[in-house]
């Protein structure tokens, strides 16, 4: 099929399906993935190079925007104070469950690590609507969940970057190789910090005076691509570079002009990101899910229960009562955007096969459908118990 027609169909169906799903009260990414599954069942070949390239840009800009628009250093500092212990527990327990699940199925060490990392992040956005409706967002447990979500993203991205570096060795790295991995990561970080602190701010004072059209937007776009590329040079994944590149621009006034932010959001959420999610749908092998059977079921059960258990333990240690700890655990169960970037990258690098990829996608879908309803149930349960 002609690539222009493919792009047109993917974008059109992704937007229409996402609209229907949003109106039904679920996150739009489910609709975008459903559009991909639908097209895959019909005729589009998921291995098309051009679609794959657009999908890669989608993953890059999804994480670039997290760094560029959503992460604020002051909030990260505040989050560490509020939510460090609950967050660590809600990362360590799912990671352990994922790793042990891989071991139980005799998967390779790197696959076990990958499942652990894929179990670790959280997408709080899915829980927000329920928290608003039940007036829990402004309560202490609600704000702890928000703080935890900020830290969770950062810890998840760090774990993913270590995993990708380890994966390049195809075996358990020696201590020397681990030092090389750590060294590369540190050098990359130092370069990006210097660029973000000293070079980019000066650069943008000249860029905004350029006579050519859309100079600031073009340079913000270029920095996303540059930081993604530089990460690959240091054997990290492009999406990690994009995230750090975005964070480097997050405090530069000229790079954050409202109009520029709108354009970056527009091209990302309007075009690249829907293609990325639809491409995930296109890549799902429905027969692999059927074949995965018990493994897929355990991925779903363990991924969700481990977040619940980890979150519960962490918040209990932090001094919350059992009801609030339960609410926290359930609220941290959903996974969405960042996790999909991880598993897409893992599949692209050959770390995981179709079976694991499809099982984790299924887990993500189940988590975003089930979690809000469960959260509502536990909040109502708390309210009933407290009032009697």
């Amino acid at each position: 099929m002609n690539i222009l027609l493919q792009l047109l169909l993917i974008l059109f169906l992704a937007k229409i399906f996402a609209e229907i799903i949003e109106r039904a009260g679920f996150p739009g990414i489910l609709g975008e993935m459903a559009a991909g599954i639908f097209l895959g069942m019909l005729w589009i070949n998921p291995d098309d190079d051009i679609l794959s390239f657009f999908s890669m840009l989608g993953a890059i800009f999804l994480l670039f925007i997290v760094g560029y628009k959503e992460i604020n250093l002051q909030e990260v500092k505040a989050s560490i104070k509020i939510a460090l212990i609950p967050t660590l527990c809600s990362v360590i327990v799912p990671f352990s469950f994922g790793f042990l699940l891989g071991k139980a199925f005799n998967l390779e060490f790197i696959e076990c690590l990958f499942i652990g990392v894929a179990f670790s992040p959280t997408s709080i956005g899915v829980s927000v609507r329920t928290l608003i409706d039940l007036d829990y967002l402004s309560k202490k447990i609600g704000s702890t969940m928000l703080s935890s979500a900020i830290l969770d993203d950062i810890i998840g991205i760090f774990m993913f970057s270590v995993l990708i570096s380890i994966a390049t060795y195809h075996h358990i790295p020696t201590s020397m190789q681990l030092m090389i991995i750590g060294g590369k990561f540190v050098i990359f970080l130092i370069i990006m910090i210097i660029l973000g602190w000293k070079v980019f701010p000066v650069l943008f004072t000249y860029i905004h005076k350029m006579q050519v059209k859309e100079s600031i937007f073009a340079f913000v776009f270029m920095i996303a691509i540059f930081s993604a590329y530089l990460a690959e040079v240091f054997s990290l994944h492009a999406v990690i570079g994009a995230f750090i590149g975005g964070a480097c621009l997050s405090s530069i006034p000229f790079a954050k002009i409202e109009d520029v932010q709108n354009k970056v959001s527009g091209i990302s959420y309007g075009i690249f990101v829907p293609i990325f999610f639809a491409y995930i749908g296109l890549s799902i092998d429905l027969s692999a899910i059927q074949g995965a059977g018990l493994f897929a079921l355990l991925v779903i059960v363990l991924a969700l229960s481990s977040k619940l258990i980890g979150g519960f333990i962490g918040t209990k240690i932090a001094g919350f009562n059992s009801y609030d700890s339960l609410i926290f655990g359930v609220g941290m169960m959903p996974r969405a955007g960042v996790e999909l970037v991880f598993i897409s990258a893992g599949r692209g690098l050959g770390i995981i096969g179709d079976e694991i990829f499809s099982a984790i996608v299924l887990m993500i879908v189940v988590s975003v459908i089930v979690s809000p309803a469960l959260l509502k149930l536990v909040i109502e349960y708390k309210e009933r118990s407290v009032s009697t």
Partner: protein, 145 residues
Amino acid sequence: MTIDYSKLSVAEIMTKDVMSVGENTTIVDLLKLFRKYHYHSYPVISQTGELVGIISEDIVLEILMFNQMPAYEHTLLSVIRSCSDVAGGIMTTHPVTVSQDASLSETADLMLKHHVHRVYVVDKGKLVGILSKRDIVNEICKRRE
């Protein structure tokens, strides 16, 4: 006679008497200000007198309508803002600033090219004035007369 706007500095036409708010100004007080005056935004000043952010009508509207907005609008940043009750927690940080000696033509070019409605004029980080598109238009009209 043509006027050379590159020789006119921002300091000559900016509004010097700026109404600002502090980081601890409550949202209730901010709403009162928006009701009482017709300014589109208020600069937020730290205790040391430095410009640290902006509260715009957009932000206030976002906070007021948060519960009714579709789920896709609930980004981490907007959720965190909605939980705050003071200006410091909801403001947009890192506003676009210019120095007092920046030329009018250069500043107008910046505002037109990048759709910036107003710039904040600072001297060593401290707010000394605001320049809006309306100020520039008024000044040019005055000089043409």
